[in-house]
Symmetry: C2
Subunit: 196 residues, 2 copies
């Protein structure tokens, strides 16, 4: 089948892009408002774009009423954020933080997660997360109505049990997950791994 994008309705395009560009890694972003209220939200239009220094990219939509999401407003205001990675054990809590709640609500409390102080930025990281990247805003690029945010990583936290002495990652300890379309995710470990 073929879909001319300028002749295809938005709902269909949304469905096709989210179910065909897969599997997507998930950035579980913690940020802090000017008033000091922490925010947590997951985004799967996310990837690394550079390794030395590490730079991560997230693309964030507006709310349905076209206002800025807390994550974007907080990053614009404070220029700092943490990208936490998730795992199969944390999936339910992660999904909980994807709900739209008022900016005054602390999503760490909502999802029963522990904020842990970051070393180089003000927003806390998620203590339970297997991996966290402390980031400062590097570049902002608008793409139509999306906010594409590039963050330079200042500090990488990795739970000890994830790395061997050669710094190889043990995916069976990490248990990473990726995003597919609809209600689906993928397990990226165990017998789902294939070796080239």
């Amino acid at each position: 089948m073929e879909f001319l994008t300028d002749k295809t309705d938005g709902e269909t395009l949304y469905k096709l892009i989210l179910s065909l560009v897969v599997p997507r890694p998930v950035a579980w972003v913690s940020s802090l408002s000017r008033e000091g209220i922490p925010n947590l939200a997951p985004f799967s239009f996310f990837n690394a774009v550079n390794d030395e220094p590490p730079v991560l990219m997230i693309s964030v939509s507006n709310r349905d009423d076209n206002t800025l999401k807390d994550t974007v407003r907080n990053i614009m205001d404070t220029r700092e954020f943490v990208v936490n990675m998730t795992s199969e054990e944390l999936l339910t809590k992660m999904i909980k933080t994807g709900q739209d709640v008022p900016p005054s609500e602390d999503e760490f409390k909502l999802a029963e997660l522990t904020p842990s102080p970051s070393k180089l930025v003000k927003p806390p990281r998620i203590a339970e997360a297997p991996v966290s990247f402390e980031c400062k805003l590097y570049k902002y690029v608008p793409v139509y109505d999306m906010h594409v945010i590039f963050g330079e990583v200042l500090l990488i936290h990795v739970k000890d049990e994830l790395l061997d002495e050669k710094l190889n990652v043990n995916y069976e300890a990490y248990k990473p997950i990726g995003r597919l379309g609809g209600d689906y995710y993928v397990k990226a470990y165990g017998n789902c791994k294939i070796k080239r």
Copy 2:
């Protein structure tokens, strides 16, 4: 463990970023030189960043000798490219097109793949690919030594057997794969799928 990025060597950063930011989708990009020679190469610093209109992002490094890779030069010269998605069956051929070969070499022939004419852009798509996105260059953003390329999707090709009448994707027919660190990939279908 903690890694201060400005105190960590490049090899370690490369290893950590590629093995921790997972699973990454793979863009298998076809492009055409000014002389009309087709090029194919896979990139996993890739994702969607917008859905209406669809915009895809790839981040491409330079060669080891700091010259532009064919993909970047071709896109800069012609402003057109195709992002093909891959599948488990095509993995070996995809890896073959990731080798560094002279620009004069046609990677469709090298990997025994069939170029199929695109409808709206000059670079051919991969006939065997389950999904192809015909793109025009939308924006170019340098990030340190990387070339971050945003492509606006003009036309989406999807193999008929991948979609049901409601345009839900059948992942068992698609068999998408994602990139992990080292020599590892992940199967994103079958019993590797989890429902929220």
